[in-house]
């Protein structure tokens, strides 16, 4: 099981370590204190770690470490190329505000395939997908997706602008990449970004008028994950519920059995068992607090037919911790989990969620947790 966890928060990056033999987790290191760390990538291929750093005044930056997070250097942040004067501005379709042609937020980072060891993918708001082939020293915008005509109908969900929050690189074929966008649904490429297809068939959006309920490119998947051992098995925690695909995002099926609610942001899938997944449910839409003020994790082991509600070790009275979409992770063994909250609480489990231990209740609001 992994003995290191990276925690990206509103006020810095924290590295947690645990000695062998069941010692408690401890915060071994704090970096970028006072600065937002919205996204992290511990690259399991080679031990490098990447961190998006968001300065309120000075913009987004990109840092990397070649020694598992002990020392950091500033690399190159993805930059949108100059906007050509003859390209019209796109206005967000519902509020009419201009969607910036400029980096607003780094919202996802994922490693490329094993056959492209220095490749990293980066999803951003306002909806640009970038790729680096040199561990973050240079980037290029994936123009076919940015230039996709339907992008003018994408809109913000959670953020003011559309944002790419999930990137799944198929371990069988690194040219096959699937991304989740709020709010533009799921998109896939099978040629490393040259051509794209919307892949949200079966999802529905109750926040839209009935005639647009099933429109694929306006869906709001909050988080998209892929089972490494069976990449055709994918899970989405969507604004309107939980969806599952068993055919590599070609079609999606509603998972109404999720409880105590079908709303939430985070989802994690077992790395070897595609039918096992975890959610952190909440009261839907604008309320966004745990159901009945009780923090719980929902687990299915049968592909979503049924769920167990796991609460051992979690606060069950007047707890208002919300878990953001990137704040739940499972390690490579599938046994150890971690999740963090907007209230700065962090819990781990060594038994697939049967029981949880509080690591800290005093961290800054947690954006992202990842085993490293």
């Amino acid at each position: 099981m992994s003995d290191r966890i990276f925690i990206g928060t509103r006020k810095g990056l924290f590295t947690l370590e645990r000695a062998k033999g069941g010692a408690p987790w401890r915060i071994a290191q704090a970096d970028f204190l006072g600065v937002q760390v919205p996204m992290l990538l511990p690259d399991r291929r080679d031990g490098w770690v990447y961190a998006a750093v968001g300065h309120g005044h000075f913009g987004s930056k990109f840092h990397r470490s070649n020694d598992r997070g002990k020392n950091w250097e500033e690399a190159t942040v993805p930059a949108y190329p100059p906007k050509p004067d003859d390209v019209p501005e796109i206005r967000e379709p519902y509020r009419g505000i201009v969607i910036p042609w400029s980096l607003e937020l780094i919202w996802s980072l994922e490693a490329g395939g094993k056959d492209e060891p220095e490749t990293i993918w980066c999803g951003t708001a306002p909806g640009g997908l970038f790729r680096s082939n040199d561990r973050g020293m240079s980037w290029h915008l994936i123009r076919p997706l940015w230039d996709e005509p339907l992008r003018r109908e994408w809109f913000g969900g959670g953020l003011d602008w559309p944002g790419i929050h999930s990137i799944c690189v198929d371990p069988r074929d690194s040219r096959h990449v699937t991304v989740g966008i709020s709010c533009a649904g799921v998109w896939t490429t099978r040629d490393r970004g040259e051509t794209w297809q919307v892949s949200s068939q079966g999802m529905y959006a109750e926040y839209m008028p009935p005639e647009q309920k099933y429109t694929q490119h306006i869906q709001d998947p909050h988080r998209l994950v892929q089972c490494p051992a069976n990449p055709d098995a994918m899970w989405v925690q969507h604004h309107n519920g939980v969806f599952r695909s068993t055919d590599g995002a070609r079609t999606w099926h509603d998972v109404p059995a999720a409880r105590p609610s079908v709303f939430g942001f985070a989802v994690a899938v077992h790395p070897q068992k595609p039918d096992t997944a975890w959610l952190v449910p909440a009261v839907k839409d604008e309320v966004r607090i745990p159901v009945d003020g009780k923090v719980v994790v929902a687990r299915t082991r049968d592909g979503g037919k049924s769920f167990e509600v796991l609460r051992t070790g979690l606060p069950q009275e007047h707890a208002y911790d919300l878990t953001f979409r990137h704040a739940l992770d499972v390690d490579e063994s599938g046994n150890r989990l971690v999740f963090g909250s907007t209230t700065g609480s962090l819990w781990t489990s060594d038994n697939q969620g049967d029981a949880w231990s509080l690591v800290s209740a005093h961290l800054p609001p947690i954006f992202c947790v990842r085993f490293g």
Binding site: V35, H57, F58
Partner: protein, 89 residues
């Protein structure tokens, strides 16, 4: 010559000592500064070359008006301050 000074708060992330450069517009002045300090460019300007949303530039105590193309004139002997804009709560 134009003297360019930076907010203390940027120094923690990116060293930006005060410097003297030539230039007739804010763009020319900042380009001169960033030619010698490439890293600082991205801390002050966004990826389209405009002033970052929460940054502000003063020329002789006056806020620059053109935050996108940075065409405000700068006279010889001027004092330029690159600061954080107080915004939000």
């Amino acid at each position: 010559m134009v003297r360019v000074n930076f907010t203390e708060n940027i120094q923690r992330h990116c060293a930006c000592p005060s410097t003297e450069v030539r230039g007739d517009t804010v763009r020319q002045v900042l380009d001169e500064v960033f030619a010698a300090n490439q890293k600082a460019r991205g801390y002050v300007l966004d990826d389209q070359g405009g002033l970052r949303r929460h940054m502000i530039v003063f020329v002789n105590g006056e806020t620059v008006r053109d935050r996108v193309k940075l065409t405000d004139r700068v006279s010889d002997g001027a004092e330029v301050y690159v600061m954080q804009a107080l915004s939000g709560g």
